[in-house]
Amino acid sequence: MDSPAKLLGRARWIHKHGYWLKYYSVEQIASGIGSLADRWLDPRNYYRRTAVARLHEATGYSASDIESAVVHTFEQLRAPVLSRLIRAELGSPQVLDGFVRRAGGRVHATGPDLTVVLAAGNIPGPAVLSASHALLVKSPVFVKTSSEEAVLLPLFVKSMKQHVLWLGRMLHVGHWAGGDEAIERELFAMADLVVAYGSDATIESVRRHLPAKTRLFAYGHRLSFVVIGSEALYRDAPSVIRAAAMEVTAFDQQGCLSPHVLYVAQTRGYPAERFAETLAAELAKIEAMSPRRALSLEEHAAIQQIRARYEFKPGCRVWASSGSTAWTVIFDRDPTFTPSCLNRVVFVKPFRNFWRLTRRLREFGPRLQTVALALEGNSFTEAVQLLADCGVNRVCRLGEMQRPSALWPHDGRPNLGDFVRFTFIED
């Protein structure tokens, strides 16, 4: 852990000299970040290999999950992808370099004078994206790593200082205890924008300590789930089940993108209970090849408790790994959305009427995030409108939950669009 004096000294420096970024065009910055991303996308790259090895050791997640996450993160930072993102959200890159003609006048976009990013510990990657987006809009950025995962960000900034120094010196990664007023009081006052990842409690605490002028992007608790329709089951149930199992086991279900519940259409030829049973077999197979990481006593006990509750609850059935808490499938006819305790514990709930199902989801609106749909035709079209009305902000195919598009407005808000402020010259 760095001393408050050192951290604040660094923050003041990048805050003071951040304007140097304005000497570069957005294309140059995108190109700089992109060239770094290309290095990380090379499997032989030292930083990538080191990150994957250390992350595997630090988190216990499977090496393949981690490799996937690292690759996915840097795929979103390739120069062409960043250009597409800028065009999609801001119209043209020039709007960040100067004034650009728009309806009614000309407009210029300016990024924050200082962005602070507070990273979470569960899944590596999101904070790297936030930091890169900040640099892209010409904002210097100060990142706090979490105590559970302090591997990826330090290696990222080190690689940036090595290969793209003029960018790297505008990014600082440090660590301090969350809530430490000695640092955060001044840091939050200096920042125009704080991007916070974490639990509700963390975010509330950050919110309370922000001065009024500092904006907050909060990426907190989110709930994701899957909906599987009859056609998908008729067409190829084994593939659907395999894909669903992969979604449940990726990163041991940690992270907001992982499903808590699989809603399965009650289908004459393929009862949802049979789906649950087959899913259980699939989870057992995955456990054999790619075991779930070690858990704390409390996490084990939470799994035992949820298993016991549903074993005795009428109308429910539980399939569970024996002699361990490695995986659990809970079949429950009650359509009410129920969050799982995660770590490879998933609910399978049958449904007949999707509209009725979404009515029950509405109350969780602000919490909903990703829904993977295995639906076709009219079912799909109707479903997405209903889900949008409920509050869902991302719809994807089953199998893609852990790999959001670079262009997905994170948690429903534009990635770059919200970072900047606009200056408008009226005609």
């Binding site: 569960n122 989110r222 006990a301 035992q304 408790q305 016991a308």
Partner: protein, 379 residues
């Protein structure tokens, strides 16, 4: 071929006889085992949800040869199903867990079909560990009375103690508005030379001590006075270490730590566990035979067995390791003999110590654990 399963009445008689002999002439291990298997067979046949639970584990009376193999029901199950061996309507008493559950879950219910069995398990055990040196004492009870809390197992037990071992002036000290702090203070100030006893839930006792602190009223209870406390602090002062609490009781009530006996029990289980400290202090019984006194621990009565299991595998942990406490209580004839708690503990000497509840795991990053979620959406 096994003989016919005993009836409820026969089993209760056997268990009560076992309990009555237990402290005087500790039964052999195979006597416990035989009786436990008998109770298990009866419960397998009479308790439908339990039977399904056992079948799912391949644990039928034919397959189970030792009490350790009897499947233990997690306490949460009492909230989801009626774990009763007779029709619930025939229960003499129904104990309900305290309402600290969040969300829409039901409260757990434990059906008592024979209060005689409960009384046998509770009375002797209490006397042995809290009142080994005399027949009766004035008890001031800092808990709800039977009128206020008719379905509390703790209240029932405390009332039993009051009837069996209470001097006439014994009473419950709570009104509808809570603890009668000043009335209790007055009664104890007038205690004179005669030893008195407090039976309390820990958080109410702490509340009263805080009252004394506010009044700057230190008591010096007569020698021989003692306290039995139970239940934990339930959020009032979760971080208060036991040692500090004992220090407060000594300072404000004049009761030394050896005369404070903690009781550990639960709605779902008939029997209780007490600290061994008072018995040791009063030099009663043959635990003092060895020169080195045993460390403080909860005493396991001879009709109960306790195992400490890993929450991951549900297998017993090595000595000294922490795990979930699993209790096998013969007195639980009417429900289930074997109960898997959500309490973390470890073996200590011939007994065990309770380390606290295994709380729900904290959510990490942007993922959400069930308990937090329920708290936020349903209050």
């Amino acid at each position: 071929m096994a003989s016919a399963t005993p009836s409820a009445g026969e089993l209760d008689r056997e268990i009560i006889a076992f309990i009555s002999r237990a402290f005087g002439a500790p039964p052999a291990e195979n006597e416990f085992n035989t009786l436990a298997l008998s109770v298990f067979r009866y419960q397998f046949e009479q308790n439908r949800p339990y039977r399904a639970f056992c079948r799912a584990r391949g644990a039928t009376p034919g397959a189970v040869a030792r009490w350790e193999q009897i499947p233990a029901v997690p306490v949460v199950a009492f909230k989801e199903a009626d774990l009763a061996c007779e029709s619930p309507a025939r229960a003499q008493k129904v104990f309900v867990t305290s309402g600290t559950t969040r969300g829409a879950h039901r409260r757990g219910r434990h059906f008592l079909f024979n209060t005689g069995l409960y009384d046998a398990a509770a009375a002797g055990n209490f006397k042995r560990h809290v009142l080994p040196d005399r027949d009766a004492m004035p008890w001031f009870i800092l808990a709800h009375s039977p009128e206020q809390a008719p379905d509390s197992s703790l209240t029932y037990m405390l009332d039993l103690v009051r009837n069996a071992f209470g001097a006439p002036e014994s009473r419950f000290c709570m009104s509808s508005r809570g603890l009668e702090c000043d009335a209790l203070l007055d009664s104890l100030t007038e205690a004179g030379d005669h030893a008195v006893g407090l039976l309390a839930t820990s958080y109410v006792l702490l509340h009263w001590v805080e009252h004394l602190q506010n009044r700057r009223a230190r008591l010096s209870l007569p020698p021989g006075s003692r306290i039995m406390d139970t239940g934990g602090f339930k959020g009032r002062a979760r971080e208060l270490p036991r040692v500090e609490f004992l220090g407060l009781l000594q300072r404000w009530l004049g009761v030394p730590p050896d005369f404070v006996v903690n009781e550990y029990g639960m709605t779902e289980m008939t029997s209780q566990f007490y600290d061994n400290t008072l018995r040791l202090k009063l030099r009663v019984g043959d635990e003092l035979a060895s020169s080195r006194p045993p460390p403080r621990h909860k005493v396991i009565p001879p009709w109960v067995r306790v195992r400490v299991v890993s929450p991951e595998t549900l297998e017993p942990v090595s000595d000294g390791e922490h795990g979930l406490l699993v209790h096998y209580d013969l007195a639980n004839r009417g429900s289930v003999l074997a109960i898997q708690t959500e309490d973390l503990g470890m073996r200590v000497g011939a007994g065990f110590e309770v380390l606290g509840r295994v709380t729900g795991a904290e959510a990490r990053g942007c993922s959400l654990a069930a308990a937090e979620f329920l708290a936020s959406t349903r209050g």
